[in-house]
């Protein structure tokens, strides 16, 4: 009996890893495949496809735009999540439940619809597609995730620490700087990183909001696939995965923050 259970457990575990990591490994393998079509059987090892990226400056400018959008929107979303989380924890339980559901509501709307809605909404303020609208939509998209991560931090935060700080002569801003923010730092950094990655790889929310000067990396990749399919795309994807992976490792190693628990 026990042996059967153990075998079943291992099978399950293996299946999970194969399905989670499998596609990533496949993409990475294709990126060094010398065959011309994508996907295709492995023909030989080459770094040609990485070199090919260099001939496409639109990938670099889009990556830079994506980085900027991800950085700004994640910073705004994390700051908003902190203030929202703070208010939610200091309020009544029922009120908090309603408000946090409301704040999570962007999760429930199909992303492509959010993108279209944002285009119309931005129009009300005389804004069209472009950088500002992209940052707004990426912020809204990241907020529910940042809020979850920040709320788990607040769940363990003891508010009498703030009272102690006040009684020792610190004002509210000083108390946030000295006590609240340092103690929530892991959650804030995790929230920021999560938002950053979600923003960087997201295609549909940007769909209607890019213009000639501003376009995001996933959209450029998508446009590329529409015209032709070759392993260069796998090379781009692999670069993204490696950079994100290194960022995660650095965070976990040096800031002692676990993004994946």
């Amino acid at each position: 009996m026990k042996r059967v259970a153990t075998a079943a457990g291992w099978t399950y575990l293996t299946a999970v890893y194969v399905f989670v990591i499998g596609p990533v490994v496949f993409v990475a393998a294709e990126s060094v495949n010398s065959a011309k079509a994508f996907p295709s059987a492995f023909a030989g090892v080459t770094l040609h496809w990485y070199q090919a990226i260099l001939a496409h400056p639109e990938f670099f400018s889009a990556a830079w735009t994506s980085t900027l959008i991800a950085a700004v929107s994640s910073a705004v979303a994390t700051a908003a999540a902190f203030t929202a989380g703070y208010a939610l924890r200091r309020r009544g339980r029922q009120e908090s439940a309603v408000l946090s559901t409301l704040l999570a509501s962007p999760l429930l709307v199909p992303q492509i619809v959010i993108s279209l809605a944002m285009l119309q909404f931005a129009g009300l303020f005389g804004l069209g597609a472009g950088f500002a609208s992209l940052i707004a939509v990426h912020t809204i998209h990241g907020l529910p995730f940042a809020l979850r991560l920040v709320l788990t931090g607040f769940a363990r935060f003891n508010f009498s620490l703030e009272d102690a700080s006040f009684s020792l002569g610190a004002g509210r801003v000083t108390t946030w700087r000295e006590v609240t923010l340092p103690l929530l730092r892991p959650n804030l950094i995790a929230g920021f990183t999560f938002c950053f990655i979600l923003s960087f790889v997201n295609l549909p929310i940007s769909l209607f909001l890019t213009d000639a000067q501003t376009t995001t990396l996933p959209l450029v990749m998508f446009a590329y696939i529409e015209s032709r399919i070759d392993p260069m795309l796998a090379a781009v994807a692999t670069v993204v995965v490696v950079v994100a992976g290194i960022a995660t490792l650095v965070l976990e190693r040096y800031l002692k923050i676990r993004l994946v628990e």
């Binding site: 003891n158 009498s160 102690a164 009684s167 002569g169 006590v179 103690l183």
Partner: protein, 355 residues
């Protein structure tokens, strides 16, 4: 002039009156315990004095200065919290020095004051540790040192011993009293534990349902409760309800429904008025021989509980039952369950209050 004065302080939470028209004075250097059951408003009172809760009506004065509207960080009041509330990301020394740093004192001065505060609570050697590396008792000492390091005008403590185990609690209680005397600071200590209040306080303020019921020295609270609420709350008591039959000055006779008549003392009583008599369990004597006295009743031992230091007998006198606490000592008679005996108590130990 009193160090701290509360004048008609009232606090409402929605429709609930948490603190109701509370007025009291605390003298310089005095140690006062706010004692009451949970939800009586004692912690809310403390939080209003600290400035964490707003005052809906009334005012709070320190040395005659009205601080009712002052923000907590300007009040110069030291606080010790129930769960210590030490900053986990700071060392013991950084915790103790926090308030001094907020006052922008030079680093050398801070180091000196921190060392002095830690010496006061005898924790000098732990300055570089983090709170998580300390025991509960040590953490509470650090919290005390941190509160005192700013040389506050007032020290407030919110059930600081409730998280410690029994033995440590006794040690910490003595430690708090020693430090308070040594510094000479005015202190307010909130607790629901009577033995804590009696062991610590110069004066005890009893609160129930948001109201101050009595404020006096521990012995006065115990021996002369001001009203039925305090009488029933303090110590282990028997409460017997009836009507006032006759009055002679402060000496009253109370007729119980079961026909029993008992003699006690009380004020503001009227003949015929419903009243409650309260007598503490250890003030009732049990004997086989019939004694002479104010209240002597034949009774039967219905049950007994061995508590170590005392033996509690449940005695039936006619239809009434009273609990009698007898010291577990050879000088006192022992009884078997079912045995007949006499229960007696003095009228001076029997307080009668209007119900």
């Amino acid at each position: 002039m009193p160090e701290l004065a509360l004048r008609h302080v009232t606090k409402l939470f929605g429709d609930t009156v948490a603190v109701d028209d509370l007025s009291l004075d605390i003298k310089n250097g005095e140690f006062v315990c706010l004692l009451g059951p949970s939800g009586c408003g004692k912690t809310t009172t403390l939080r209003m004095i600290a400035g964490f809760e707003t005052v809906d009506r009334g005012s709070i004065l320190i040395d005659g200065e009205d601080i009712t509207a002052m923000p907590p960080q300007a009040r110069d009041i030291g606080l010790v919290f129930q769960h210590y509330a030490l900053f986990p990301h700071m060392t013991v020394a950084q915790n103790v020095g926090y308030g001094l740093r907020m006052r922008r004192l030079p680093a050398a001065r801070i180091a000196k004051e921190v060392a002095a505060a830690l010496d006061l609570v005898r924790l000098g050697e732990l300055a570089m540790r983090y709170p998580s590396q300390l025991s509960g008792g040590q953490q509470q000492r650090v919290a005390l040192a941190r509160a005192l390091a700013i040389k506050p005008r007032l020290l407030l403590m919110d059930e600081p011993l409730s998280n410690l185990d029994a033995k440590l609690r006794d040690d910490m209680r003595a430690e708090i009293r020693r430090v308070q005397r040594q510094v000479g600071i005015t202190a307010i200590f909130v607790t629901h534990d009577q033995s804590e209040a009696f062991g610590l306080a110069d004066r005890i303020a009893i609160m129930t349902q948001g109201r101050l019921r009595q404020m006096a020295e521990p012995a006065a609270i115990y021996e002369a409760p001001a009203n039925a609420t305090v009488g029933a709350f303090i110590g282990q008591v028997n409460a017997l309800k009836g009507r006032v039959v006759s009055l002679d000055g402060e000496c009253a006779r109370l007729g119980l429904e079961t026909g029993l008549e008992i003699t006690g003392t009380g004020r503001e009583l009227r003949p015929g008025a419903a009243a409650t008599s309260i007598v503490k369990q250890e003030r009732i004597q049990l004997s086989r021989e019939q004694p002479r006295g104010d209240n002597v009743f034949p009774c039967r031992i219905e049950a007994q509980t061995y508590l170590g230091g005392t033996i509690n007998y449940l005695c039936r006198l006619r239809q009434e039952t009273v609990t009698v606490a007898v010291p577990n000592n050879r000088a006192f008679e022992r009884f078997d369950t079912g045995e007949a005996a006499f229960a007696s108590w003095s009228k001076a130990d029997c307080h009668i209050f209007v119900a």
